[in-house]
């Protein structure tokens, strides 16, 4: 291990970090390695029976063809909280199972985010060695600061989850262990 230490910049950098926004409003990239086939990962992100089981647990309705509609409907828990309708929406741009899915994506349930307009979301899946596949989420959030903050998990309290980091950790847990992470007992 090298013994190099950051220079004087480090001190100023560290003190800036806490007050600076953690959110890039351009592109965010998230990547996770999952012990599953590309097809299993593809199914998990495109089939409503799977999308209900991890992350925000929306009931996704996806028309898997270019120009096809995408709608993520409220789940039972959200209905119980008095929510209704479509949470996220968008349109398919590129559908290449089980490798690549490109779509527009917007938080439709929040008026401020709905007004920001659509973002561009790309899923890339590749097969690696030893039955492990790589899933990358490339989210172009140019000019969409509210969306950028949300998918970075900024609006959740510490430990409360939220954003792509949490969604992908949960998906890994679901595909490798057969169950998504369970909320701690109250």
């Amino acid at each position: 291990m090298t013994s190099t230490t950051p220079t004087a910049h480090a001190a100023t950098g560290a003190s800036n970090t806490s007050s600076a926004s953690s959110t890039s409003d351009t592109t965010q990239i998230y990547r996770v390695f999952i012990r599953a086939t590309p097809q299993a990962i593809w199914d998990a992100i495109t089939q409503p029976d799977w999308t209900r089981r991890f992350g925000y647990g929306l009931r996704d309705e996806i028309e898997l063809r270019p120009g096809g509609n995408f709608r993520g409907h409220v789940n039972d828990e959200m209905i119980a909280m008095g929510m209704s309708g479509v949470v996220v929406d968008g349109e398919m741009i590129e559908v290449d199972p089980p490798r690549r899915l490109v779509m527009t994506w917007r938080m439709a349930i929040d008026p401020r985010m709905a007004a920001e307009g659509f973002t561009r979301l790309t899923y890339e899946i590749s097969e690696g060695r030893g039955g492990v596949s790589r899933l990358s989420v490339i989210h172009d959030l140019s000019g969409r600061p509210a969306h950028a903050a949300m998918v970075a998990g900024d609006q959740q309290g510490p430990g409360a989850g939220g954003g792509w980091t949490w969604i992908l950790s949960d998906l890994k847990s679901l595909l490798e262990n057969g169950s998504a992470m369970v909320a701690p007992p109250q």
Partner: protein, 107 residues
């Protein structure tokens, strides 16, 4: 080497943590930008970035003719879930048990 080992090894170096801090503040940077904030040779910075990439903490992506570096927080979350939660859970459940007992006593 296991995934966890790579993450801990990558995080064990102050220069690499500094690079992650810089990307946390502003994501999607070139090597030149990152290098300008460190008194280190280009080769040295590249070496550190490679360790971070191998640990999946940094994802490099070509955009046009430039290579941009992005912070990937997912492995840190996984380490947190695997190691940190495990050791803090007991304390939290002890507190919730205490709360329950106090509330039952006062009822």
């Amino acid at each position: 080497m296991r995934d966890d080992d790579r993450v801990f090894k990558a995080l064990a170096d102050p220069t690499r943590r500094f690079l992650l801090d810089r990307l946390f503040t502003r994501d999607g940077r070139t090597l030149t930008e990152l290098e300008s904030e460190l008194e280190m040779t280009r080769f040295g910075v590249m070496k550190h970035l490679r360790v971070l990439e191998e640990a999946n903490l940094v994802v490099a992506r070509k955009v046009g003719r430039v290579k941009l570096h992005y912070l990937n927080p997912v492995p840190i979350r996984l380490v947190h879930d695997r190691w940190i939660d495990k050791f803090t859970e007991r304390r939290v459940s002890a507190l919730t048990a205490l709360k329950r007992q106090l509330e039952e006593d006062s009822a």
